[in-house]
């Protein structure tokens, strides 16, 4: 575990609050008959989640349930520990924070702590009454929600997203906004802003028997090496309710968490395609899907500048990057692997064929 540097006043204030949150978690767990444990591994690192009761586990665990525990010999680095509790079931309230809430009326607030408290990361969502505080020195996070039943679909589909991003920053793992599917250990990283067709393409690949790492977010490791890797975080796939009619097989198994502004249903891939959710894939190429309203799909070369423009802005702005490390990592990846445009035609059955043709061409190129 990292050594903890001397504390300055704001940092001490936040550190004190972090401990009070942990105490509140313990109280909540005791009120519920003891904490529930979920242990797994992510990107060869240990993940230990503790819930005060079953409510938050029902929200956060399904998308992580595919993450098995790795043997200790396969793990590197200290564990990421996340403590979660809710007030609704436990009756334990959120301790009063040592700050004034900005009176802006905004639904979400990404709060930047002062430079002297940069050991901690904080995110609050006032609309859903949720708070996450992460300690970069001890790799511990506390997640509080007033009522687990009110957390919307994206909490179910991508639990602890902020925590994974903050934690990854210190582990050489870059959380990227991209889907990833592949075959035989080689993956295609599907990049583009929301609505570009990442989810559709990755879920069509899944249904066609391909390995699945993500439909929206994954952890990028070693981007500048000969083996850049996409690690799986969530087994979830999301589709607009209006789009599900095109996927009757998925429509039958999609679940409906509380609705949010994105109006999507969630499919937990490991429950229905258990052999295809892969913990990681080596990234063979970056593919930029685009809804083209053509009859047939088309694959064309893309420049690494095109790939960077598709991958970096949506990642950096969605995840609120505050420095250029993640941008550098994505730039290194775009220089390292081939990039392709994928124009998505109306014939969905063709899309997995196009993905496979890209993988085949990569194999041929590597044999030349």
């Amino acid at each position: 575990m990292s050594s903890v540097p001397p504390q300055t006043a704001p940092e001490a204030l936040i550190a004190d609050y972090f401990e009070r949150l942990l105490e509140a978690f313990e109280q909540a767990a005791n009120a519920s008959g003891g904490a529930l444990a979920f242990d797994a591994s992510v990107a060869n690192r240990q993940l230990a989640v503790r819930y005060s009761g079953a409510g938050l586990g029902r929200v956060f665990t399904p998308a992580l349930a595919h993450l098995g525990e790795s043997p200790a010999s396969a793990l590197c680095g200290p564990a990421l520990r996340i403590y979660c509790w809710e007030t609704e079931l436990s009756g334990v309230p959120l301790p009063p924070p040592p700050w004034h809430w900005p009176d802006s009326g905004e639904a979400q607030q990404h709060v930047v702590l002062p430079a002297s408290a940069q050991r901690f990361r904080l995110h609050v969502t006032r609309e859903y009454e949720e708070l996450t505080l992460y300690d970069t020195a001890t790799l511990r996070a506390v997640v509080w929600a007033r009522d687990a039943n009110k957390l919307p679909a994206y909490y179910h589909a991508a639990p602890f997203l902020k925590v994974f991003g903050w934690w990854g920053d210190g582990e050489g793992l870059h959380l990227v906004h991209a889907a990833c599917v592949g075959e035989a250990g080689t993956g295609l990283l599907l990049a583009g802003r929301g609505g570009s067709g990442k989810s559709t393409t990755s879920l069509l690949g899944l249904m066609a028997g391909m390995q699945f790492v993500s439909d929206d977010y994954c952890l990028l490791e070693s981007p500048a090496t000969t083996a850049p890797t996409a690690h799986c975080l969530f087994s979830s796939g999301k589709l607009l309710r209006s789009h599900l009619e095109n996927f009757p097989r998925l429509a039958r198994v999609a679940v409906s968490p509380p609705e949010d502004g994105f109006d999507k249903k969630v499919i937990y891939a490991h429950e229905h395609f258990p052999d295809q959710v892969s913990p990681r894939l080596r990234i063979g190429a970056i593919v930029l899907p685009r809804v083209a309203h053509l009859e047939q799909c088309a694959v064309t070369p893309a420049s690494f500048a095109d790939a960077l423009k598709a991958l970096a802005p949506s990642t950096l702005f969605q995840l609120r990057a505050t420095d250029s490390r993640s941008f550098r990592a994505m730039a290194a990846l775009t220089r390292k692997v081939p990039c392709r445009h994928l124009e998505l035609g109306r014939d969905f059955a063709e899309i997995p064929h196009c993905l496979r043709s890209i993988l085949t061409s990569l194999l041929k190129e590597s044999q030349l």
Partner: protein, 145 residues
Amino acid sequence: MTRFELNAPDATFEDCDGEIIVINLASGNYYSIRGSICHYWSELIAGRSTVEIINHVAATFSLSEDDVRPTVGKIVQQLLEEKILRPATAETPTGDITISGTAGKYEAPSLERYDDMQDLLLLDPVHEVDVTGWPHRPESEAKNS
């Protein structure tokens, strides 16, 4: 003021062999810079004066300085307005100007701005530290302690 530097850490960039991609992490905008100015990007953000750059561009591409000055001046002004550049604080670079890549034929500079990601920032606005420091203890709590 004719010397500038990158407005880091808000602005960050990648040289994509003939195209400079710039991200402004604070505004939610990103940019594509093209043209022969890309050969001079590292000099520009290192604080080399625009006058020196204009003179070098003119000499390299066999143009008159009057031909080059308006277009280079315009893009530098745009980069300032977009908070990609700021007035330089570092010492003026000395020595000869070195350009990246092969100069080839002169292409006028262009700046393309993409603002299609701003909605992501509006969804999750950042609250910065204010000058008095943050966080503050609630006054009622401070009085009681």
